[in-house]
């Protein structure tokens, strides 16, 4: 059996109940790129982002083994995955000897191409509060809904909207300042 292309949540729910391993593969296919992209902005280093993007799903797989069918059917998948991913990002942020955002070594030539101003964005995002940065990245880089961000962060939807709005405003100001200079 080959790994399937991205599927919708209803198909993933069904597969997770009828064939856990196939459903898990569909889950990885659909959501790992978003988790990786978001983690890349929240951890600053692509090595950390890879670890987060892998460990999130390994933990999810172990958790699924303990869930009954109804709990799996009720899962808000993206919010649930990001709850796990954010915990892993926080773990990495508190590790000693962290490099400063923007000073991390660029990936070697074998890695995927990086957007040209990737490190500039890491620096701008690092100046936001943790809650603003998380909300902005989840909304605009990882493409989560406000509801899913609320589920993942445990913050009310209104607060998430405020975090995003203020975060974007600070980013606009930062970009404007840099362009004037």
């Amino acid at each position: 059996m080959k790994a399937r292309d991205a599927s919708n949540d209803a198909e993933i729910h069904t597969a997770l109940v009828t064939d856990r391993d196939l459903g898990f593969t569909m889950l990885v296919r659909r959501y790992q790129p978003g988790i990786y992209s978001g983690a890349r902005r929240l951890t600053h280093r692509h090595e950390d982002a890879e670890e987060v993007a892998q460990d999130t799903f390994l933990r999810a797989y172990r958790a699924l083994d303990t869930y009954d069918d109804q709990r799996i059917k009720d899962l808000k998948i993206q919010g649930w995955l990001w709850t796990i991913a954010l915990n892993l990002c926080r773990d990495r942020a508190t590790r000693p000897n962290r490099e400063m955002p923007g000073l991390a070594e660029p990936p070697d030539s074998t890695s995927d191409a990086m957007p040209i101003d990737s490190e500039s964005w890491n620096r701008r995002l690092a100046r936001l509060s943790d809650d603003q940065r998380t909300a902005v990245v989840l909304r605009h880089v990882a493409d989560l809904t406000i509801r899913d961000i609320s589920a993942a962060t445990g913050r009310p939807e209104g607060t998430v909207k405020t975090d995003i709005s203020r975060g974007l405003e600070r980013l606009r100001e930062a970009v404007k300042r840099e362009e004037i200079l």
Binding site: M1, D21, A53
Partner: protein, 193 residues
């Protein structure tokens, strides 16, 4: 200048291609596939973190795609097999004794797993009738179902379904033809045939 939201959306990056594979295989949800040489030509072998999940001779599945189309689990082609596993498989194929090999039969029905586990206990140089497995499973009326389960054996040669014959001593059916079954039994010294 694009607005800030568009520029943030442009930060989306594709993870390395190997990440999906290492995640799925690392979780135990998927298999790796590579070939091992044998006297029947190359064999496609799939394995998980638990054990061997599938085997098909390349004369039956000429390409990895054709093997993956029929394999019951999500799988990814590996450049090679761990040397220790390859050695174990080569030795098991040569001796007919696969006792040291771990099998992963997840995804098969409980009945099929029981049939295959029982079949795996038949030593090289011996044959058993289909009814023997049915009796071993305390289902003496399930001879036909045993035959069906063996016909779907995902790990032939290593799980020796070729050692199960008709009650009248004739060779019976085999997924790769009765001739190959006869050849295997002659090779294992079942001289009664």
């Amino acid at each position: 200048m694009n607005n800030i939201e568009d520029r943030l959306a442009g930060l989306t990056e594709r993870p390395p291609q190997s990440l999906e594979r290492s995640t799925v295989v690392g979780a135990g949800a998927g298999d790796l596939v590579a070939t091992v040489d044998s006297r029947f030509g190359p064999l496609w072998i799939a394995w998980s973190s638990i054990g061997i999940t599938g085997l098909t001779p390349s004369f039956a599945s000429p390409t990895v795609e054709s093997f993956l189309d029929h394999h019951r689990r999500v799988s990814y082609e590996a450049s090679s097999m761990p040397r220790s596993l390859e050695t174990e498989i080569e030795e098991a194929l040569a001796s007919g004794d696969a006792e040291s090999i771990a099998f992963d039969l997840r995804g098969l029905s409980d009945f099929q797993q029981s049939v295959l586990e029982s079949c795996a206990t038949i030593p090289p140089g011996s044959v058993r009738p289909y009814g023997w497995i049915a009796n071993e499973l305390h289902k003496p009326g399930a001879t036909r179902a045993v035959g069906t389960a063996l016909a779907k054996n995902p790990i032939p040669l290593l799980i020796p379904c070729h050692r199960v014959v008709k009650s009248d001593g004739s060779v019976g059916n085999y997924a790769f033809g009765a001739e190959m079954k006869r050849d295997l039994l002659i090779h294992e010294g079942v001289i009664a045939l």
